[in-house]
């Protein structure tokens, strides 16, 4: 009997099931506090580094390129952008099949070097193209809770 075979025949193949029984509460942080509170007002906030001449979206407290502090450099960047790239997704986050596929896009926010990942809505997949102008569609104000989901999706600019 080969070595590997002998090892494997010592017992039936078995397994043990378990999980990591943890949950988390993440604070959104100092920059996140500004960004998500303003989302509730229907605004998207970036942060500008004057040294590198870059506007980050979402806002950050620092420039990752030069480490300048940006907390006094927050600015409203508007809610429009263009489709940087996109896909149509048939699976959920945990690998299950979706009934109706959703379109996921990286949106390049106009006038910035920043990007947001979000869904596209009010558009057929066949009509989406890279460079397509889009705008954020917010939830009704009463339903906003300071989350990225306060934006329902981005839709084509008519």
């Amino acid at each position: 009997m080969a070595l590997i075979e002998r090892f494997q025949k010592t017992t039936d193949i078995g397994f043990w099931e378990g999980q990591i029984p943890m949950s988390y509460i993440y604070t959104v942080g100092r920059a996140g506090e500004k960004f998500f509170r303003e989302l509730m007002n229907g605004k998207i906030i970036g942060a500008k580094c004057d040294v590198c001449n870059i506007i980050y979206v979402p806002a950050k407290i620092f420039c990752e390129r030069c480490f300048a502090r940006l907390e006094d450099k927050y600015l409203e960047v508007g809610t429009t952008g263009t489709v940087h790239t996109f896909t149509q997704c048939y699976e959920t986050y945990d690998g299950m099949r979706k009934e109706t596929p959703s379109i996921v896009a990286v949106i390049h926010i106009d006038g910035t070097q920043g990007f947001l990942v979000h869904w596209l809505g009010e558009v057929e997949f066949e009509k989406v193209y890279i460079g397509m102008p889009v705008e954020a569609v917010f939830k009704p104000k009463k339903d906003r809770e300071g989350s990225i989901l306060d934006i329902k999706y981005f839709k084509p600019v008519k």
Binding site: M22, I61, E64
Partner: protein
């Protein structure tokens, strides 16, 4: 190999439940470290990051997540992780980058945000135990510390009231540390009267749940001499892991710490550590661990650490001050950041710039040590002025 110096340091306040995201914490420590030595991010050639389980912050692949806050944008970057031993592995990891000649400067960043984890960060440790032979018994990390402390105590006949003095000493030392989370003047009786967690461990025997970050700047000799008049040299590094079958080791003595220390001493040319090391920051997540590690480091003979403590040798004014910072028990224990906090303490002490915490006698040789994984890793750094 080239000589490597620490030239700058930065550290956040240690608290439980901070508003900052992990990467914002990392940024604050890193920014301070760069400012401390008047360097720019563009002066940095590579970055290493130490951070313990992803399950604390709850961010899978948190090394990658933390990279921008650590100043690693488009730079060579590596993350390392050996549980509680991570913080002192961090400077070792950075040391390799510079000593090898590959890079002249290196940022060494460590971060932990344990308060994100619910129901309690201790629960994140359930899955470090063997999943079939131990996890079904629902072990907690506090048990295995208590189990080790018991073995340590019964082997030498140490008394709980003597070991409690470590908490008294370290929390008092922390009164002078600007980052400290749990500075306090307490008595041995306070420790003994505090809530029993798992006998022989009471609440005040344990370091807290903490959020925080710390950073040092490493430089090759020719750079270090231009950056600062007082570079602190990393003269010895050592680390080792013991068997993962932790229940088959005799827990009274940390062999892995001894192996790591011997490696570091050999490299630093140290023959008699108890005489040649002037100041030490052994890892003290629990009171007994400081003593356990002092023995493993060879700073006293086996079984003599408690007497050393009782004699005041490890006080800030003693012959071999241990945890003059206030340690994990006093300053707090954001796991990986704690190890770098200890490195920073030795850095400041050897420069003679530790302020109210400064130990007398102008120490010139110090040591920081951490410990972790499944009670099996020792990491040691020897530093000289």
């Amino acid at each position: 190999m080239r000589r490597v110096a620490i030239v700058g340091a930065g550290i956040t306040k240690f608290y439980r439940n901070v508003q900052e995201t992990p990467k914002e914490l990392a940024f604050e420590a890193t920014k301070m470290a760069l400012e401390s030595c008047e360097m720019k991010l563009s002066d940095i050639e590579c970055v290493v990051h130490g951070t313990a389980p992803d399950a604390f912050d709850g961010i899978h692949m948190k090394g990658e997540y933390l990279s921008d806050g650590s100043g690693a944008f488009r730079k060579p970057y590596m993350r390392h992780y050996v549980g509680g031993g991570t913080g002192v592995l961090s400077p070792i990891h950075g040391w390799f980058h510079v000593a090898s000649g590959m890079f002249d400067t290196c940022l060494v960043v460590a971060e932990e945000k344990m308060s994100s984890a619910y129901p309690h960060p201790a629960g994140a440790f359930l899955t470090i135990f063997d999943h079939t032979t131990e996890q079904p018994l629902y072990p907690t990390l506090i048990w295995i510390f208590a189990i080790e402390m018991n073995r340590f105590m019964t082997t030498y006949g140490y008394r709980k009231e003597d070991i409690a003095l470590v908490a008294v000493k370290n929390k008092k030392n922390a009164m002078d540390h600007p980052s400290a989370q749990l500075p306090a003047e307490i008595t041995v009786q306070d420790v003994l009267n505090s809530e029993i967690m798992a006998w022989p461990v009471n609440r005040l025997d344990i370091s807290p749940t903490s959020d925080g970050a710390a950073c040092i700047v490493l430089a090759a000799e020719h750079v270090a001499r231009r950056v600062t008049e007082k570079p602190i040299w990393i003269d010895g590094v050592g680390w080792a892991l013991d068997t993962a079958y932790w229940t088959t080791r005799d827990l009274y003595y940390p062999d892995y710490v001894e192996v790591a220390a011997r490696q570091a001493y050999k490299m630093a040319g140290i023959k008699e550590p108890s005489k040649e090391i002037h100041i030490a920051e052994p890892y003290d997540p629990f009171t007994y661990k400081e003593l356990h590690h002092i023995e493993g480091l060879g700073l006293c003979k086996r079984g003599e650490s408690v007497q050393m403590l009782l004699d005041g040798v490890t006080q800030r004014t003693g012959n071999l001050p241990c945890c003059p910072s206030g340690g994990a028990l006093g300053v707090g224990n954001p796991i990986a950041a704690t190890g770098v906090m200890k490195i920073i303490e030795i850095f400041l002490q050897l420069r003679g710039e530790a302020g109210k915490r400064q130990v007398p006698g102008k120490p010139t040789c110090g040591l920081a040590q951490a410990w972790g994984d499944l009670m099996q890793v020792g990491t040691v750094v020897v530093m000289r002025s």
